[in-house]
Symmetry: C2
Subunit: 305 residues, 2 copies
């Protein structure tokens, strides 16, 4: 089934305890579509970049089967740029530079050939823009998944609540779940958030795994304990891309299949952090992914009658 991803395509400059990079390709939609590309063939992208965005980076997405018809290029504009620095624990980071540039007036135009998409992934961006995308789709997708962050809870809460009413699945981290719900207990937080609209909620906990909530059901997904996290940038988006790419490929949105999708998403995130930026994500084989998924199976399986 076809997947449409809307979100940022950007330049990132990163610094971690292991080194630093100049401007490399980044952005939520980049990680999402790259991760999804290992699962689904119909991988459509709506995003905006400036005239400074190199053609070979667009080529990189296309090589991975990403349809870039919806990638608007504003010739006299500059691409969204984010620069950040991670500390030793890799859970906290300082934003050094944020230049919205062309993202500031991002008007998500949906190409006609993308209409009728069954799966919609709204990468983290302005909630009003996310809502606009849903309104511009002639037919409601089978599954709408939304990622967001604390920033929008602080400066655009009403818009966020408005779009939350329209989506099926929300993914946020544990801190954001606590912020959005005002509840410390994640179980209580999940109930309050699901009452805001999304029937399904994924709470990402980084090295501690992820929790999937739907009605009264909960699934606790493990994270692979890694020797080294080289660069956590894009881990959450790779997770989301692997997750929804797997759902789109299997076209099964049951709770049982979402559990599998979380494992595939976690596998993609575990690859992502092994190198800088998208470096590891663009060089994967299906065999590597399946072997990594088997590591998760071994990691989490036990037998009790």
């Amino acid at each position: 089934m076809s997947l449409l991803t809307v979100g940022s395509v950007a330049f990132d400059a990163l610094e971690t305890p292991f080194g630093k990079t100049d401007k490399i390709i980044g952005g939520a939609a980049t990680y999402i579509t790259l991760a999804a590309s290992y699962f689904t063939q119909q991988n459509n992208l709506v995003a905006v970049v400036g005239g400074d965005f190199p053609q070979d980076m667009i080529g990189l997405l296309e090589e991975h089967g990403v349809d870039t018809k919806g990638l608007e290029i504003v010739q006299d504009g500059k691409t969204f740029f984010w620069s950040g620095k991670y500390h030793e624990d890799m859970n906290t980071r300082d934003t050094l530079i944020t230049e919205l540039n062309v993202m500031e007036h991002f008007d998500p135009i949906i190409p006609n050939s993308y209409q009728g998409t069954e799966y919609l992934m709204l990468g983290n961006t302005v909630p009003a823009t996310q809502k606009l995308v849903i309104e511009r789709l002639a037919k409601r997708p089978k599954l709408i998944m939304l990622d967001t962050m604390n920033l929008w809870m602080n400066i655009a809460l009403d818009d966020l609540k408005s779009v939350l009413k329209l989506v099926d699945l929300l993914t946020i981290n544990d801190e954001e779940a606590r912020l959005l719900s005002g509840e410390y207990s994640l179980r209580k937080a999940a109930k309050k958030i699901m009452a805001m609209g999304p029937k399904t909620l994924i709470i990402k906990k980084g090295e501690h795994g992820a929790l999937l909530f739907q009605d009264d059901r909960i699934f606790f997904a493990p994270a692979l304990p890694l020797e080294e996290v080289f660069d956590p940038t894009g881990a959450g988006d790779s997770f989301a891309g692997g997750f929804i790419g797997y759902l789109a490929a299997t076209d099964d949105i049951s709770f049982e299949n979402m559990k599998r999708a979380i494992i595939y998403g976690s596998a993609m995130a575990s690859f992502c952090v092994e190198k800088f930026g998208t470096e590891r994500l663009v060089n994967l084989s299906k065999e590597e992914i399946n072997a990594r998924v088997q590591e998760f199976v071994k990691l989490a399986s036990f037998e009790i009658q």
Copy 2:
């Protein structure tokens, strides 16, 4: 098989966001033996209390099948007393009062009838005392498990390292694993710690579950997301008690059985935190425990070919 637990039996006074208690029964060995009592019949205790320790609290242990022959009562001494206050996140706590009292000169005397124990649980206490216990056993147990804490890493590291050489299994939390190894990555930390002696390591992560390491194998155990953590005191000891109690009852120290034991231990910890002190732990049925274990099975199970 018989289990011997050595550790503190104490008074605790607790304050959490949900209320506070006067002096109630506490101490590592109390929680461990109570949790283990639901699994193993031969549940022996070596500890020390003062003349102020009420007979009915000893009776409480005995009602749960704990053999208190090894519980020394120093008539003119006072029982170890700890008082602490938890904050909203329940992961951090302030120690308000620590009165070692009779624990300061604790000389662990092993009753003859305890000799030949197959399973030994050394609750968190002075490392030199833990070592003394091992030396006083005529026959080496099949499994020696040790719990410790950051305090001993800071003030008695040599003694701790000396006893670590003698044990099979160490249980500590993630912060302590990082402190003891000097490694941030838990996978690297585990390797270094296992090289210090224990072939098996359990890293407890509270609400994030636990990791079991042995050779190159890793098991990621989930924690049950709870609506409310009422009082976290004793959770780690209840975990340890359920774990080693299950091992002793099944007399199987394979990695596969340790996985099951972790789930039983996690179930006991999840009960423990539902009420103040030992309140929930002393009023459990096997049916409740089995039902809770099934919740863990549902929580963590997924199927991937």
